[in-house]
Amino acid sequence: MTHMVTGKWTARPVASAALRYGLAFASVVVALGLARIFLYFHLPQPFAAFALSAIAITFWYGGTKPGIVAAVLASIVRYFDWSEVGAVSRVLYDLVFVIFALLMIGVNRARSELEVRVAQRTAELTRANEDLSLEIAERKRAEEKLRQSEAYLAEAQKLTHTGSWVWEVAGRCALHLSEEWYRIYGFDPEEGMPAWDKRLQRIHPDDRAKWQQAIDQAISEKSDYEVEFRLLLPDGKVRHLHTVGHPVLDASGNLVQFVGSSTDITERKQAEEALRQAQSDLAHVSRVTTMGELTASLAHEVNQPIAAAITDANTCLRWLNRDHPDVEEAREAASRMVKDATRAAEIVSRTRLLFKKGTPQWELVDINEIIREMVALMRSEVTRYSISVRTELAEDIPQLTGDRVQLQQVLMNLMINAIDAMKDGDGTRELAVKSQRAENEQLMVSISDTGVGLPPQQADQIFNAFFTTKPHGTGMGLRISRSIIESHGGRLWAADNSPRGASFHLTLPVEAEAHE
C-alpha cells in the first residue's frame, strides 16, 4: 500500500536509473570543470565546495545510491587531481565527503518519510473528499426524494382535503401548517402563519365552545382529542371539519405540542344530509301509502265519536226541550259530547302527524305511549277482521331518544303486516304487542300474530327492498322499518311465532346516542 502510494504520490520525478547514476557522473564532472576554471583564473581552490554541491544535488535529485556513487567519484577525482594536499587534509576531505554523504542519506530518508506521510494524508484527504462528494450526491438524492415525497403528501392532502398542523401548547402558536390547512381555513400562506385568535375567529360561533372544550380537556389530560366542528369563512361559506390531535410530551413528561390533522368533511356531511332527506322522504311516501290502506278504518275511527256526539247532542236537546228542562241530564249529555269531540280531534291530529312531511324530530319518547297510540289507531282495522289485540307493556321502561313519527310508522307497518297475515286465516286471531326491558340498556318490542307465518325459505328476504307477498304491496315497508330502527341504533328481525304465525322483534337503545 505504502509502496503504491509512494510510487504514485511521490513528488520526486521518477527518472530512469541511467539518468540518476548519470547525474552522479555529470555533477562530479561539472564540479571538476568549475574547479578547473577557478584554477585557470588563479582563484582560491573551491573543489571541495563544488564536490559537496555535486554530491548534494545528486542525492536530492538522483537518490541515495547515485549520491553515494557521486561521493565516491568525488573522492577519486580529489585523489587524482589534488594529490598535492597533505595527508591529513586528504583524510579530512574524505571524512567530510563521508559525513556529508551520511547526512544526505539521513536527509533523503527523512524526506521520503515525509513524502510517504504527505502521500498518506493526501490519500486520506482524497478519500474524504470522495466520501464527501458521495455524501453530497446521496444528500441530493435524499433531498430530491424528500421533495418528491412532500409533493406526494401535499397531493394526498389535497385529494383527501386533509391539512396537517403542529401547535405549541405554551404559546398557543402554530409551528407547522400544511398548504392544505391554509386552503381549508381560507388563509393565504404568503402572509405567514395566522395568529391563534385569527384562527379561532374562523370557527363557527356556535361550535367555538365545543372546540375549546375538546382542546382544554386534551390539554388537562394530555390526551388525544377528536372534534367535529364547522368553520365560518369570511365569505360566509360553512365548512365541516373533523380534527384529530395527538399530544407530544418532552423527556420529563410535560405537554409541549399537539400534532394532528384537520379533514374537510363538508361533502360527506352534505351527502349524509341528502341521504337523510331522501330516507325521510321515502319514509314519508311509505307512510302515506300505508295510511292509504287504512283510509276506511280511519274514517270509521273518526266516524264513531262523531256519531256518538250527534246522538249525545240530540239527547241533550231532548232534555232541554221538555216542558221542564232537565238541566242536570242535559249537562251530562253535553259533557259526553265534549269527550266524543275530543276523541275525534285526537284521532285526526294523530293521523295528520303521520301524514306530515318533515325532517326527523329527535326527542324523548315513551315507547309504551307510542304503542298505545298505534293500537288505538288500528282499533277499527283489527275489529274489522275480528282480531283481538293483547298488549303487555312493561311499566318500568325508560324513555328513549327518537323520532316519534318514524317509530309510529314502524309499529304501524308491523301491525298492518300482522293483520294482513291473519285476515284470511282460520282459528284464533290474536295480535300481541309486548314491550320489555332487554340487556345492555336496550328495550325490546315484540309484535306477534297467529297468521300465516313467514314465507318459508324466504324468511331472510322479507327485509329486502321490493320483496312482497301482497298483491298490492310496495315491498318497502319492512325495508324502511328496518332502516328506521337502525338509524335509532337498534335492530329489527323476524322469527316464527309458536304455535303459529310470526313475531317481529325490535330493540332500541335507551341511551341517547346512535343519531348524529
Binding site: 264513531q304 265519536p305 250527534i310 246522538t311 249525545d312 283489527v382 275489529t383 274489522r384
Partner: protein, 125 residues
Amino acid sequence: MATQAKVKLVAIVDDDELMRGALQGLLKAVGLPSRAFASAEEFLKSGQQHQTACLIADIRMPGMSGLELQAQLNAEHCRIPTIFITAHGDTKMRLQALRAGAVEFMAKPFDDEVLLENVRAALDS
C-alpha cells in the same frame, strides 16, 4: 217473570264506550230502561238475553261479531228484535242481517228519531 217482561229492557252491545254512553243517554231521555255490554260474550254471559225486548248491537267488535251474536241467539231460540248500527255496513251484510231476523240495519251516524221509532216498534211487537 211477569214484572220483568213488563220492564221491556233494551240491551246495547257495542265495544265503543262513547257509543254505549250515547245510546244509553238517548234511551234514558225517552224513558226507556237499558243495559249496556262491551261485547257479545259479556251479553251472553249476563243471562239477560231472555229479559231483553230489544237489542241494539254493533256489527264489528273484537271477538264475537254482531252477526255471530244474532246467530247464537237464534240457535238458542232466543229471537230478540235486533237493530244493527254499524259504520261498515254494506248491502250484502245488511241482507244477511235482515234475513236472520234483524229489525233494522242503520249506518253511523244515525238519525235518533228513526232509531227510537225502531226501538219502540220492536218493544211493541
